[in-house]
Symmetry: C2
Subunit: 158 residues, 2 copies
């Protein structure tokens, strides 16, 4: 996967958290994800397809998800209910949408966001799409954005 794909996802995540949630993220070093690693408790996931196809995963602790939903909806909540699920899904959608805009030449469209909950769940990528994991620090703890993109051969686009 091309290194120049990383910055659009960093820029989009930082921008979405700042403008939508008033939350300043500090980026830590991206790394290639290997093997099965547990995620946080809540993951937003969305697919991309076009001249490249792939997936974006936003992983949050339960606490970070509640804080993000509170910042987005203007009301505190202490339960991962449908509002929190929708808030995490919408954040994932916006992060992927921002990166897609930076990567206009790949002409990608988004699927719908899904949100996975469950302690100790993992989200595995296909072997040909080893994901890059970007950790961010914020007042709510560590959050991560993972993405894997596979460029499509021109023939597959016909």
């Amino acid at each position: 996967m091309k290194v120049e794909y990383i910055n659009p996802f960093i820029a989009s995540t930082v921008c979405v958290f700042d403008t939508m949630l008033g939350c300043q993220l500090t980026r830590k070093d991206p790394y290639l994800k290997g093997g099965t690693q547990p995620e946080h408790e809540i993951s937003g996931i969305i697919g991309l397809s076009g001249k490249a196809k792939g997936t974006v995963v936003l992983s949050l602790s339960r606490e970070a998800a509640l804080k993000a939903a509170e910042a987005m909806l203007g009301e505190p909540t202490d339960d991962v209910d449908a509002d929190v699920i929708d808030a995490v899904g919408e954040l994932t959608n916006m992060i992927a949408g921002g990166a897609k805009a930076y990567l206009e030449h790949l002409e990608m469209n988004l699927s719908i966001p899904n949100v996975i909950t469950g302690k100790g769940h993992t989200v595995e990528f296909p072997r040909q799409a080893t994901p890059i994991c970007i950790p961010f620090d914020c007042p709510w703890g560590l959050i991560t954005v993972e993405f894997g993109l596979v460029e499509q051969p021109a023939a597959a686009m016909l």
Copy 2:
């Protein structure tokens, strides 16, 4: 969501399990999924985008995933390793690909399949995409295919 979207997913799932795994599925009654319900232990998930966008989720018990991988790869395995993950992802990809072919007028493309593992995990859909859940019985136990599709307004396609 239109009722005529259901049959393509049923037909595709039955065909993929029959031709790829030699496994005959018996369809049970589809239902609208409501609220948070635990899935099986392993879920393949893939996004669709085009004139409609959405997600397909294939949920399997651990045992069914191992049996499916064995049928696909020709070798027994007793651990959910990278081969089993790839087999479940590829099955999900083929089910979505078959349904996409039946729903040609929606001009959808697939993202890449991801596989979620973890006891008691749930996959939530956005509120505007209430998924239809199709259970199937087979010698390996119950498997389910869920899909949610949202048609895009013509303006969004420009």
